[in-house]
């Protein structure tokens, strides 16, 4: 109570001070300050314009397109009649929608779990210093730096049912008797696509987790060792609690990146066989760019925007907490 009163008092005093001033100097100073502000804004102007045109406009346009009948004809006639929720009704009623949602969830969860677990194991392994460990760690980044479609195409070859190397090895080791139809059977295609995405995601996961591990002070482990915390116990009581912030960031970013994956699936299966690998992202692409039904395509990708936004909010909260810690 007392603090508020003092603060208010000081506020009034400050305002009183400002009243008696030299008007001319004020205006000149104000003009100089306006010019200074304008110069500062000029540095930001190109970026603001770019972000508005290439991020702001597309999101708004996508939202409105979802309520329009927007087809190839629109590009010639310029007519895109408003149809209310007809696009959404069509999308939600279509038999494929349930499949794409389930596939999106399975693809995302499968990819994240695989990438994270393997990435964490690699990060933990390479925390130990041994000859060549640094060189190996940077070579591990390679799959992440290659064009995704390049990685995708070699995997398509490796997963080939008849002459792919994976089936050759599996049969050579007598792990399977018949060649696995990795990308051609509706039952296993989603697994095949997940395997490839896990491979692509491991470097990103392990690099971020490795940097998180580096930030845990050695003293914690030394103190823990005195109390008998080594090996698994040390991981559970020291490493994991201290890594939580980074773990959360890695997981949420992983979800956001996985939701928008398009190239891997289009390159490996094209969403098939029988829509077994069709996700929200590929379905939106299919509707807009192979069926030229931009209205329903936009409706599907608006669903994607909402899901991504939810995770974006989670990311921002989690990231702030990670920085606070």
């Amino acid at each position: 109570m007392t603090t508020t009163a003092t603060l208010e008092g000081r506020d009034v005093a400050a305002r009183g001070d400002g009243l008696g001033g030299d008007h001319h100097g004020d205006r000149a100073r104000r003009r100089a300050r306006a010019r200074e502000k304008a110069a500062q804004w000029l540095f930001l102007a190109p970026a603001i314009v770019y972000v508005l045109v290439f991020f702001g406009y597309p999101v708004v346009k996508n939202l409105t397109m979802g309520f329009q009948e927007y087809t190839t004809r629109t590009f010639y006639t310029g007519e895109a009649p408003w149809v209310g929720f007809a696009n959404y009704a069509e999308v939600f009623r279509s038999s494929i929608f349930g499949t794409t949602v389930v596939n999106t969830v399975l693809f995302t969860v499968g990819s994240i779990v695989g990438q994270f677990v393997l990435g964490l194991l690699l990060a933990l392994y390479f925390r130990r210093r041994f000859p060549l460990s640094n060189v190996m760690r940077s070579l591990l980044l390679l799959p992440w730096l290659l064009p995704v479609i390049a990685g995708t195409s070699v995997w398509k070859w490796m997963l080939d049912q008849d002459s792919g190397v994976l089936n050759q090895v599996l049969r050579g080791l007598h792990l399977v008797s018949d060649p696995v139809p990795w990308l051609t059977s509706p039952d296993v295609a989603l697994l095949g696509v997940v395997i490839v995405n896990v491979w692509l995601g491991i470097p990103f996961n392990s690099a971020l987790l490795y940097s998180g591990l580096q930030d845990i002070p050695d003293e914690l482990y030394e103190a823990g060792a005195l109390d008998g915390a080594t090996g698994w116990k040390a991981f559970w009581h020291i490493t994991w609690p201290n890594l939580r912030g980074v773990v959360n960031v890695v997981l949420v970013l992983g979800v956001i990146y996985t939701l928008k994956v398009l190239d891997i699936i289009l390159g490996l299966t094209g969403g098939g066989p029988a829509n077994a690998t069709q996700t929200l992202a590929t379905d939106s692409y299919r509707r807009s760019f192979t069926e030229f039904s931009f209205g329903t395509g936009a409706a599907v990708s608006n669903v994607l925007i909402v899901v991504s936004l939810v995770f974006a909010v989670v990311y921002l909260r989690v990231n702030r907490r990670a920085v606070d810690e």
């Binding site: 770019y50 190996m136 002459s163 190397v165 470097p203 970013l253 928008k260 974006a312 990231n319």
Partner: protein, 272 residues
């Protein structure tokens, strides 16, 4: 002492090599297949015992133009992205303007917008203004991969520059632009190079805009050249793998020669 500890660590190195070999096997397989002829899809052997350049010859005859297109688009994207992002990073790191917080927040969100959303809308916009099937169109679209990332990592770097550096120049009568150009840009060279390298990689690897914003063969990036192979029923993987090897060259060069920039970018962009 030193030698015994190195010897004791040898098993770790060996096991590490096993992990690395497993992770990089697909890359090896890509190179291996690329040297195994332009013939049929018959199982290739584990080593290119009888190497041939047929795959590369056929790939080059079909893809040289696409490789050049990708190169031009990637360089254009670097120029555009840096021109937009460097001054913005300077402003975000130095000035206090109302609304700047909203802008930074917008950048974070922008990175999370799915590419298909942007492609959906840009298709009709580009159709109206005649940017479909054009290099400038692809450059502008590909910069969406790079601009937010470049602004964020360069801002983080420029915050670490002592404010006195630019202020000294301004006291000497230099305007903001002079201070920016002759002090901040040279001092930030490393951050700018990192942002530029990643902009190049992002644009070179771009698939979604190549796929959606081109409809003819006149302007076709290499990623789409590869996709064309995959869409058909591949009969002969030699040329396909030769093309993917060539499309991977920039990433490999960067990993070998620009290691420290890559490490800085990989971590800077995501967490901070």
């Amino acid at each position: 002492m030193q030698r015994t500890s190195t010897l004791r660590q040898l098993p770790y190195t060996l096991l590490g090599l096993v992990f690395l070999a497993l992770m990089l096997f697909p890359v090896y397989w890509m190179v291996n297949t690329s040297f195994q002829g332009g013939g049929t899809a018959a199982s290739s052997s584990f080593f290119p015992t009888d190497p041939t350049f047929d795959g590369y010859r056929r790939a080059l005859s079909q893809q040289t133009g696409n490789l050049l297109t990708s190169l031009v688009v990637a360089i254009g994207t670097v120029v555009v992205s840096l021109a937009i992002a460097t001054p913005a990073a300077y402003a975000l790191s130095r000035f206090r303007l109302r609304g700047m917080g909203v802008f930074s927040f917008g950048l974070l969100i922008a990175q999370m917008i799915p590419g298909i959303v942007i492609a959906n809308s840009l298709y009709s916009l580009f159709n109206d203004v005649g940017l479909l099937n054009s290099v400038p169109g692809l450059v502008l679209a590909d910069a969406t991969h790079a601009v937010p990332f470049a602004i964020l990592i360069m801002t983080a770097f420029m915050r670490s520059i002592p404010p006195s550096l630019a202020e000294a120049a301004r006291v000497d009568g230099a305007g903001h632009f002079r201070a920016f150009w002759s002090i901040i840009v040279p001092v930030s060279r490393n951050a700018i190079v990192t942002a530029g390298l990643f902009s190049f990689l992002f644009a070179w690897s771009d698939f979604i805009f190549a796929l959606t914003l081109t409809t003819s063969d006149t302007v076709k990036p290499i990623t789409l050249g590869i996709y064309d192979y995959l869409e058909g029923n591949v009969q002969s993987w030699g040329p396909v793998m030769a093309t993917t090897v060539m499309s991977s060259v920039p990433a490999i060069i960067l990993l070998v020669f620009a290691q420290r920039f890559i490490a800085a970018g990989a971590l800077g962009g995501a967490v901070k």
